[in-house]
């Protein structure tokens, strides 16, 4: 058995992919499979919880009683924001450090340790929530206190993920050392690196906040200060979502490359944007504390602005370079008519491509714009803890990241699990069903929230201050939730069904979902030096900027209408 981490070294356990010709490390493959499958199981659990919650906040239905509402809300947050996403991201990390670098995963033992810790932690947390010993919301804000197993479970998940991240970094190191590749790592790996670096910051905060809280819950130490708890917890809680952003953007580059042949229009620009994420995106955890006592205006303004919006600049860069890469690839294939002629030739029937476009649009237009606006210190006064906040993060984490990951699954299952999808017609519709459902849900939340409806509240009627309009929007939330859940369920059934019944791919390429063919007379790379080729993207991004400016200033106006306060 070879001890080199170069996949090309003789005796290294690997295979050559029948579709792409790239090398696949068999160790990485095993752990991609394990982590992806477990992730999708937690996605399903979190999704069932989501349906129950949506049908409760829709006041007309009001399905769950109060105690179960708060219990299932805790369960939903943990399963979606921590378990589903971290497991799937570890799978992405293992892919990104091996195949693109022709490298072998650093250690099988480390991968097992990571997986087992994360799995035990996840099961522990889910169990203790469902038996009613942790009705504290995912944030478990002190002085609310859960059973010690709740904190221990989260600690295990955090440490397990950190171990997986270590495996990623170690693989990068030995791949370079053993000459598995020369030159710079590709953009997909670089995006994964950004995600991994942010994960380190995230998980360090998780350890610092959860360990003293665990020891307090065991009665061994004093209660940590609630304001301190919020500060450090959000170092875990929001940072983990920034890991999602990096992973999602890396997936955008990956899928646009596989489906359309796109590549970064300027490597320096794309990579610098990831570096801005690495340095500054974590500062914005401050936006959870904008109307808190104790932390002052300067700290709030500097940190919530991601250091003068440098990390927002990064998102706006990717918002240009991802569509630009797609447009350039299409124009080079000969689809050059007018400003948007290339759009109709895009592989809309390819579910991975559709998921990516939906993810870019939903995350950018809806998620990014609302996020930056709500995260403005003063505007947060009219938004904190209202349903506007979940309205924002459902379009980013769900409409953005989860939808992109679903798109990725349409290639991971054929290429890594080596099975072609069943019910391909249904698969082509699934991203649209899910994307439209989540968008409706988020609209319902955002409009109800702007009318003052709270998040995390079982019933709005007891207060007697919310009228028919608020109820209408909660109904929209309910309908969106039903559609989104259906889209999620279809996805899970397709994946599970394919793993059991899908046609095995051995010694051939996967069944093509559809990629646009190059027209006669076109040459790849023909537009490499035309820096004004991407007219469609330019128009789209300027429209985006206009929408941003309108929404942003409209919110300042809404703020100016409330009572003066300091």
């Amino acid at each position: 058995m070879s001890s080199s981490h170069n996949l090309s070294a003789p005796g290294t356990p690997g295979r050559v992919c029948g579709t792409t010709g790239l090398g696949v490390c068999l160790d990485a493959q095993r752990f991609i499979k394990l982590n992806a499958v477990v992730g999708i199981v937690f996605l399903l659990l979190g999704g069932i919880a989501a349906l129950l919650l949506a049908l409760t906040r829709w006041q007309t239905v009001h399905l769950l009683p109060a105690d179960w509402f708060y219990r299932i809300l805790t369960f939903h947050g943990i399963n979606m924001l921590i378990l589903w996403i971290l497991f799937f991201e570890v799978a992405i990390l293992y892919f990104a450090c091996t195949t693109p670098l022709n490298a072998r995963l650093y250690s099988r033992k480390v991968a097992w340790a990571s997986f087992i810790m994360m799995l035990i932690g996840g099961v522990m947390v889910d169990y203790i929530i469902l038996v009613g010993q942790a009705d504290v919301m995912m944030t478990s804000y002190l002085p609310l206190l859960a059973h010690p197993l709740f904190y221990l479970g989260i600690i295990l998940v955090a440490v397990g993920t950190l171990v997986g991240v270590f495996n990623f970094f170690a693989t990068l190191y030995v791949a370079k050392r053993d000459g598995a590749y020369t030159g710079s790592m590709p953009i997909v790996t670089f995006g994964a690196l950004a995600a991994a670096i942010i994960a380190v910051v995230t998980l360090l905060h998780g350890a610092v906040v959860m360990i003293p809280t665990f020891t307090y819950s065991m009665g061994w130490t004093a209660q940590p200060d609630p304001a301190w708890y919020r500060l450090i917890w959000w170092g875990l809680g929001h940072q983990s979502q920034q890991v999602n952003v990096c992973a999602m953007v890396a997936v955008w580059y990956l899928i646009s490359h596989i489906t359309v042949g796109a590549k970064p229009i300027n490597e320096a620009v794309c990579r610098s944007a990831f570096v801005l994420y690495i340095l500054f995106i974590n500062l914005a955890s401050a936006h959870h504390l904008l109307v808190d006592p104790g932390v002052g205006a300067t700290w709030k303004i500097w940190n919530t602005s991601y250091a003068m919006y440098l990390a927002v600049l990064a998102s706006m860069v990717h918002g240009f370079t991802v569509p630009a890469g797609i447009e350039l690839a299409m124009r080079e294939k000969g689809y050059n008519r007018g400003i948007f002629g290339w759009v109709s030739a895009l592989p809309w029937k390819n579910p991975a491509f559709a998921a990516t476009v939906l993810s870019v649009v939903i995350f950018g237009f809806l998620g990014g714009i609302t996020g930056v606006t709500l995260g403005t210190q003063q505007i947060n006064i009219i938004a904190h803890n209202t349903l506007r906040i979940p309205g924002h993060f459902h379009v980013t984490v769900v409409g953005g990241t989860t939808l992109a990951f679903m798109g990725l699954a349409y290639y991971v299952i054929p290429l890594i699990f080596q099975r072609d999808f069943i019910f391909r017609g249904v698969a082509r519709l699934q991203p649209w069903l899910f994307g439209i459902g989540i968008t409706l849900l988020a609209f319902g939340m955002s409009f109800a929230g702007s009318m003052g409806v709270s998040r995390r509240s079982w019933d709005i009627d007891a207060q007697g201050v919310y009228g028919p309009a608020a109820h209408l929007w909660l109904g929209v939330l309910g309908i969106g939730g039903i559609l989104a859940f259906t889209g999620l369920l279809v996805f899970v059934l397709l994946c599970v069904g394919t793993l059991i019944f899908g046609k095995k791919i051995e010694g051939r390429a996967m069944a093509d979902w559809g990629t646009p063919t190059a027209l006669a007379g076109s040459t790849p790379g023909s537009l490499a030096h035309d820096h004004y080729a991407v007219k469609g993207t330019m128009v789209l991004t300027l429209v985006f900027l206009a929408c941003f400016a309108v929404y942003y200033f409209a919110n300042w106006k809404a703020l100016a209408d409330v009572w003066p306060v300091r």
């Binding site: 970094f169 990068l172 710079s184 790592m185 670089f190 690196l193 950004a194 670096i197 942010i198 380190v200 910051v201 360090l204 905060h205 200060d225 304001a227 301190w228 500060l231 450090i232 170092g235 940072q239 320096a268 990579r271 610098s272 570096v275 690495i278 340095l279 500054f280 974590n282 500062l283 955890s285 401050a286 504390l289 006592p293 104790g294 932390v295 002052g296 700290w299 500097w302 940190n303 250091a307």
Partner: protein, 49 residues
Amino acid sequence: MKNEPKIHPWQKLLDNPWLLLVLGVLIPILSYTVWGWVELLMTKPALLP
């Protein structure tokens, strides 16, 4: 050796994952965590007449 193409200094930084790891951990911890923690520690006791 003389024929190796010159690599731009910015590319050298971006090609160094370990430096990015150190900066990516230090900057947020100082700007968000440590600064925020100090602000909380400096909160004065209330004067409740």
